[in-house]
């Protein structure tokens, strides 16, 4: 690929989805875009890039952007954040929203649906404590293709074995030929919408809990900061944000503070329960602390 073509592609991807790619990823560009070119009946990448430059086909721009996203996901990914949601955050919300009886949860990079469905399972298991509540789980993603898969709720044998406890498989899935189909009741608990995180988040409304996991890693610092800032404005003062294992707000946005003792979980800086502002010594939950249980905090054993 010509350097000018690479630069054009990199700039285009950054403005479309926030994705930052370096020249070390040329091979990735080529291997992901060749199938798009072929599907469109173009002879090579030069053809595809020429077409993009002329902006003749908006659909092509979308296909190229989507082809460059990394969509890997699995149920209860990393386990701990979901244990924390179930054992700490959800009970807190049940108490805090006892009068309002409503809860809105957002999965900001829902991909093929494993994350919002994992949350739906947890909420469903707690439904006895939330009788009469209005609970919304919204899963958004930039990728139409992934959202189609999420909406279908059909997973391969391989996918249902990555992270999903067997009891949950038996309880919430039905075998359909060689695949597994999610229970319609669980499916109905989650709404899926196409949404680009670079856009104005206002249209989505307010969320009590936000899972924005394993998507900021693809963005540069400035974009991460903008997205975090945007998310903070869509949360009430006691809202809670979950980030992925390799992500943090530290040094990127001062709108959020780590919730001490709960790795990967953040509250608003001006909200309750947030860690003291800058200058405080790093608590036991500093992102370097690893995943070991913290003194004085429950260890959230995974149920056998």
């Amino acid at each position: 690929m010509k350097p000018a073509d690479f630069e054009f592609m990199a700039a285009m991807l950054k403005s479309e989805s926030g994705l930052v790619i370096g020249t070390d990823k040329i091979y990735l560009l080529e291997s992901r875009l060749m199938p798009v070119a072929r599907k469109k009946g173009m002879k090579d990448l030069e053809d595809l890039i020429a077409n993009l430059r002329s902006r003749r086909d908006p659909r092509l721009l979308k296909d190229v952007t989507e082809a460059m996203t990394t969509n890997e996901s699995f149920f209860f990914r990393d386990i701990k954040p979901f244990d924390l949601f179930r054992d700490v955050i959800l009970p807190q919300m049940i108490e805090a929203r006892a009068a309002k009886k409503s809860l809105r949860i957002w999965c900001a990079a829902a991909s093929s649906g494993q994350e919002p469905y994992s949350l739906a399972m947890i909420v469903k298991e707690a439904s006895a404590r939330m009788a009469g509540w209005r609970i919304e789980i919204v899963g958004t993603d930039i990728s139409t293709e992934m959202l189609e898969k999420a909406k279908a709720g059909i997973y391969s044998q391989f996918e249902v074995q990555r992270g999903l406890p067997i009891q949950m498989l038996v309880k919430y899935f039905k075998k359909d030929e060689e695949s597994w189909r999610i229970d319609p009741a669980l499916r109905a608990m989650v709404q899926f919408r196409e949404f680009n995180l670079l856009r104005d988040l206002k249209a989505l409304g307010q969320f009590d809990v936000v899972f924005c996991r394993n998507v900021l890693i693809y963005f540069d610092q400035a974009t991460k900061g903008q997205v975090l800032e945007g998310i903070s404005r869509q949360m009430p003062s006691d809202g809670v944000l979950f980030l992925g294992g390799a992500e943090t707000v530290l040094g990127i946005s001062d709108r959020f503070k780590p919730l001490p003792g709960y790795r990967g979980v953040y509250g608003l800086s001006d909200g309750p329960g947030a860690a003291p502002a800058a200058g405080a010594p790093p608590g036991p939950a500093a992102p370097t602390a690893g995943t070991r249980p913290l003194p004085g905090k429950p260890a959230f054993p995974t149920k056998r």
């Binding site: 699995f74 209860f76 386990i79 044998q157 391989f158 074995q161 990555r162 992270g163 406890p165 067997i166 009891q167 498989l169 038996v170 039905k174 075998k175 054993p301 995974t302 056998r304």
Partner: protein, 121 residues
């Protein structure tokens, strides 16, 4: 070091599983059927058992029922690992006291994920 008893009548599967166990820092112990596995458990209970279903001499489910009746036999974490992939088999395994269930084919990623879930890692 934790130990994992690998019970499968296929030598190839035992080899693959042993290799994965070594990577996960488990000491692998191999058994070719349920009876051999039970004999091994009578000598020393392993921390984990990776268990096939269909085997000559004694099947995986028969072994599991016998294991759970042994003194301390409720301790080992038992993960089925079988080609049987229908709900009926899974339920039967859970009722007999299995902790997790892997549907073959498996790879190290699946074993690792399942072991993490049951708190072995």
């Amino acid at each position: 070091m934790k130990s994992c008893l690998i019970v499968d009548d296929s030598k190839v599967i035992r080899m693959v599983a042993s290799k994965i166990m070594n990577e996960l820092e488990f000491k692998p112990i191999e058994a070719a059927d349920g009876q051999e596995a039970l004999d091994a458990c009578l000598k020393a209970l392993p921390d984990a058992v990776l268990l096939d279903w269909n085997m000559p001499v004694m099947s995986g489910i028969e072994f599991l029922r016998a294991l759970r009746k042994l003194p301390g036999g409720d301790q080992p974490v038992v993960v089925f690992c079988t080609t049987e992939n229908d709900i009926t088999h899974i339920q039967e395994a859970m009722e007999a006291g299995a902790n997790e269930y892997i549907m073959k084919p498996f790879d190290s990623e699946i074993i690792q994920a399942k072991f993490a879930q049951v708190g072995l890692l």
